[in-house]
Amino acid sequence: MLTKLEKDNLYHLIVAVIGDDATVKIYRHDFNDNTVDIVEDMLSADSKCNSNMRKLIVDLSSSGSLATKGWLKKLLKFNSKVIKKIDLKGYGCQVTVKSRWRTAIVNSAI
């Protein structure tokens, strides 16, 4: 179960990565731990779509423990102001890739 703050932070992070989307915005009310897992995978430092993700997460995370699954849930609790200001400088993959993530995010909240 996510708090409203965590849901809002998660939504802002999604928007920062794959852009604003009316459907994702609507479904943010039902974001949950499955949504966090999907977004954590989307933000993987292994992804070529987010070349500056590793540096960003190191900057955001006081511990810098990127390798530990569950880092995003921790981040959502403590970095609300920072998350709203982040700029990922665009998603470096095709719209079709974004679309697959967006579908997974919405599906997690149904």
């Binding site: 459907t23 070529k48 779509c49 470096g92 993959c93 095709q94 079709t96 967006r102 919405v106 599906n107």
Partner: protein, 170 residues
């Protein structure tokens, strides 16, 4: 957005050899037929386009791709989109940012599907490119009679034979 107006056509085919199916029409050229036996407990939902979550948790999603949605350069041959996207054709001759977008997308698809096998087949007028991992697939379909748009179908948490069966009906 012109293709986002989706018609879900219910076609009961009583008395025919074909199993009764519901049709999701993504465009006049790309229609997905879903057998009624698979629809019990299914949920249709909107993300970028129409998606279906079946009772076993598998999710099927389609998307029309054209120059506009991908902000491709004028004159880009959409029939080549699947080959660039699935690593079948080098992006060396493409200008930036298109070369990087395609190569990054292929790397991400490999990561998402855990090094999928890629196949190319033909069904009537349609060329079908499919990448399947252990439990998810993504396909790009090109109708050779027109180049205005192509179609992407993706299935996650899907039995591969069930996915390929749906794909063959498009």
């Amino acid at each position: 957005m012109k293709y986002i107006i989706i018609l879900v056509l219910i076609s009961m085919l009583h008395g025919c050899a074909t199993a009764p199916a519901t049709v999701i029409s993504y465009s006049p050229f790309f229609k997905v037929q879903i057998p009624h036996r698979d629809l019990n407990g299914a949920v249709f939902f909107q993300s970028d386009s129409i998606s279906v979550r079946f009772s076993d948790g598998s999710v099927l999603s389609g998307l029309i791709i054209d120059e506009e949605i991908e902000s491709l350069p004028p004159g880009f041959n959409l029939a080549e989109y699947p080959e660039f996207s699935l690593g079948l054709k080098s992006t060396d001759d493409l200008q930036e940012p298109y070369a990087s977008l395609f190569s990054n997308s292929w790397e991400e698809t490999k990561r998402m599907l855990e090094n999928p096998a890629v196949t190319k087949s033909k069904n009537g007028n349609k060329l079908i490119y499919t990448a399947c991992g252990s439990n998810s697939c993504v396909s790009f379909l090109v109708d050779q009679t027109m180049t205005e748009h192509i179609f992407m179908l993706s299935g996650s948490n899907f039995d591969q034979s069930k996915y390929l069966n749906l794909l063959s009906g498009i």
